[in-house]
Every structure is written in structure tokens, then in C-alpha cells.
């Protein structure tokens, strides 16, 4: 496997791990606490792009589905995915893809990143609220009151922080990518030398 690809595999796993950590970190603002999972979902899309963004969010969902306690409140399991908050979890996957897709198309410009996070968050609610309505058998107004309105301010804060973090960390990632790229020929030469030694 090429080093760049292996690096993206590791980074996607890291973002999935961070999403899980985000479910454990609460920032208390008012009656509803902010959970940082959405923040890392948006960040995965912005930093890794659409392909690896969807891979990391999908991996997070998958790890949760096989029973690891990575969802909010230390929950996990397939049953939790089909519970009342399952729509938000599926929304994370699409959100990471969409945020990455828009961010790639506008080449990481500030205005475009704002658009990417807004559309990403709308996708989460677009899947989460109807799912909550269906599973909990609520009316639309109740589902919106329980599953969207209280979180809007917190999500706006998270969206801004996601953009700030993405812009702060991207130069570091690019620098590391250059280091890995310079390392690749050295490693491939080394492997070829080993193969030749084996043949001899």
C-alpha cells in the first residue's frame, strides 16, 4: 500500500477516534450541553476531503454499530443506531462527505468553508429530526422542539470552531504530507534493495 494512502487510512481512523472522544467531551452552555462529535465530523470533511471524510464518519458509525461505547453517553450497538438518535448518526456520514465535497470544490476558501459547514449541519438535522419523529412517534413541532431548536446555538459555535481549527491545522497536515512524500522514494528504494538481496 502506498505511504500516502496508508497515511490517509490512519488519519481517517484518528478522526473516527476523535468523533468518539467528542461524544465524551461536554461544554456546558445553558440547559443543553455541547457535545463535540459534530465538530469533529465537520473537521473530518474539511481536513480529509469528501472520500476520507465519509470513510472516517462511516468508520465511527461502524465502530459504534459493532458495540463499542463511542456514541453520546458511552453507548454503542446496532440497537442504538436504530434508536431515536440514529438519524443524526447517519447524518454525520453524509455531513462529512458534503463538507469535504464543498471544501474541495472551493479549494478551502473561507466563504466556501462557511457554506460547507452550514450545509453539513443542515444535512444532520435533515436526517435526524424526521428519524426522531418517526421512531418516537412525535409531531413535527415536537420533534423540532426536542431535536433541533435547543442545539442550534451550540452547533453554530461548533461550526465556527471547526473552521478555525481546520485552518489552524491544515498547514501542519500539508507539512507532514511533504515529509511523507519525501520519505516514500527512500522506502521504495530500500524495499527494492531488500528484494534484490533476497534474490541473490
Amino acid at each position: 500500500m502506498p505511504v500516502e494512502k496508508l497515511r490517509m487510512v490512519v488519519l481517517a481512523s484518528l478522526m473516527a477516534g476523535l468523533m468518539a472522544v467528542g461524544a465524551y467531551i461536554h461544554v456546558p452552555i445553558g440547559p443543553v450541553p455541547i457535545v463535540l462529535t459534530n465538530l469533529f465530523v465537520l473537521l473530518a470533511g474539511l481536513l480529509l476531503g469528501s472520500r476520507w471524510g465519509i470513510a472516517s464518519a462511516g468508520l465511527y458509525l461502524f465502530v459504534g454499530a459493532i458495540g463499542m461505547p463511542v456514541f453520546y453517553g458511552g453507548k454503542g450497538g446496532l440497537a442504538h443506531i436504530f434508536g431515536p438518535t440514529g438519524g443524526y448518526l447517519f447524518g454525520f456520514v453524509l455531513c462529512a462527505w458534503m463538507a469535504g465535497f464543498i471544501s474541495e470544490r472551493i479549494r478551502h476558501r473561507f466563504g466556501g468553508e462557511i457554506l460547507a459547514v452550514i450545509i453539513g449541519l443542515l444535512i444532520i438535522y435533515g436526517l435526524g429530526v424526521p428519524w426522531l419523529k418517526m421512531v418516537a412517534k412525535m409531531s413535527w413541532s415536537k420533534a423540532l422542539m426536542v431535536g433541533m431548536i435547543p442545539f442550534l446555538i451550540g452547533d453554530a459555535v461548533k461550526a465556527i470552531v471547526a473552521i478555525v481549527l481546520a485552518r489552524a491545522v491544515r498547514p501542519m497536515l500539508n507539512r507532514q504530507m511533504q515529509t511523507v512524500s519525501t520519505l516514500t522514494p527512500t522506502l521504495s528504494h530500500q524495499r527494492e534493495r531488500e528484494k534484490n538481496n533476497d534474490r541473490n
Partner: protein
């Protein structure tokens, strides 16, 4: 299989799932107090949901308590919804608490192996890395939180600054750690075509699985 039975609307399936959950709970030797602690938040959510359903579902008032603004249909609907969600959460808590990550990863690779298009080794690697990063990052988050507190950062009420000064150091450290892991994998010559060693399922587990499957098929035909 359990998820399939929980989608059903008949009360007999709910009773079967409840009995099974109680049985599994006792077999797992999971502490009852911890189960209550795990379900504490969800109990509040389920109670609010029950109130919503019973107060706002149209229907006949109760004969015994006509002054109560709840309907018979609302109480029934609210009770069934909360019962189903409670069962889902109960299964999730018990399963999560008693299964080791390595067992899960091995089972995952074993399940995905017959599917030709899926890279089961890569998925297995990603799952184990994600779990590893999860535990390492939790430790790092605790370190950052303590360092933040030592510098009186917790007195700052600005949510932007609080998230920024928590998330940015965690992210930076984690990315550096990820780069180290990548280089370590490359240096060890990571390949996806290496032979796979999986532990065999013990005979006692197989017997229990067959008994459980038989009971499920029996209940399916009886109901």
C-alpha cells in the same frame, strides 16, 4: 436478530425480548448499579417522551381519573414506545459492557472475509486504530483539561475560547501521533495480504447460540 424482533409491534415480542434481556443481564454478571447509572440520562428522556405521548395523543379520558389531562390511547402508545426504546438501550448497554474490543475486531474480520469487494484487513486495522486513538486521545484530553485548569482556563466563560483551547491542543497532539503510527506501519512493512489468525469459537458458546436460535424460531412460529 434482536433488532429484527424489536421492530415488531406485538406485545408478545416485547415480553420475549424483556425476558431475554433479563436472562442475558444475569448471565453477564453486570452490576445492577452500573446499569442504572448508564441509563440515568435516558430515563429522563424516556419520561419526557412518555409525558408528551400521553398528554398530546387524542383519545378517551381515563374513567377512574377524569381530571387527569391524559388519554387511554396516549398512555398505551407512550408506554409501548418507552418499553421498546428501553429494551434497545438495555441491550446496547449490556452488549457494550461485556464484549472485548479484540473479540469484536476478530469477529468483524471473520464476518467481512467472505465479501469479495471489501478490504477486511484494512477495515480491521482502521477499527483497531480508531479504538486505540480513542483511548489515547481520552487520556490526552484529560491532560489538556488539567493543564487548562492549572492555568485557570476553566474560569473563562467564552465558549469559543474554551473549545479552541481544549480541541486545538488535542488535535495537534493526535495528528503528530497519527504521523508516528503511519511511519511505524510503513517501517514494519504493513501489507494487507498477510495470513490471518483467528481464534475458534468455543463449543459452549456454539451450544448457547444454537439454543438461542432455536428459541427464537420457536417463538416466531408460536406468535
Amino acid at each position: 436478530m434482536i433488532t429484527a424482533t424489536l421492530i415488531q409491534t406485538r406485545i408478545s415480542w416485547f415480553i420475549f425480548d424483556s425476558i431475554l434481556l433479563v436472562g442475558l443481564f444475569f448471565l453477564s454478571r453486570f452490576p445492577f448499579k452500573q446499569l442504572l447509572r448508564e441509563l440515568r440520562f435516558w430515563t429522563i428522556f424516556l419520561f419526557i417522551l412518555f409525558l408528551f405521548q400521553s398528554l398530546f395523543t387524542p383519545g378517551l379520558r381515563l374513567h377512574s381519573f377524569p381530571w387527569l389531562p391524559v388519554s387511554k390511547e396516549g398512555l398505551l402508545l407512550g408506554g409501548l414506545t418507552c418499553w421498546r426504546l428501553g429494551l434497545i438501550l438495555g441491550y446496547a448497554v449490556v452488549f457494550t459492557a461485556v464484549t472485548r474490543p479484540r473479540e469484536l475486531r476478530d469477529a468483524l474480520i471473520w464476518i467481512l472475509k467472505p465479501i469479495p469487494t471489501l478490504p477486511e484487513r484494512r477495515i480491521g486495522l482502521m477499527v483497531s486504530l480508531a479504538l486505540r486513538f480513542f483511548s489515547c486521545t481520552l487520556d490526552q484530553a484529560e491532560e489538556v483539561r488539567l493543564a487548562h485548569r492549572a492555568r485557570l482556563g476553566d474560569r473563562n466563560r467564552n465558549p469559543f475560547r474554551r473549545i479552541k483551547f481544549t480541541a486545538l491542543p488535542i488535535l495537534r497532539r493526535s495528528i503528530l501521533q497519527a504521523e508516528d503510527v503511519t511511519l511505524a506501519l510503513v517501517a514494519r512493512g504493513y501489507r494487507e495480504d498477510m495470513p490471518l489468525k483467528l481464534s475458534k469459537i468455543p463449543f459452549s458458546h456454539l451450544t448457547t447460540l444454537i439454543i438461542f436460535l432455536g428459541a427464537l424460531i420457536g417463538v416466531w412460529f408460536l406468535v
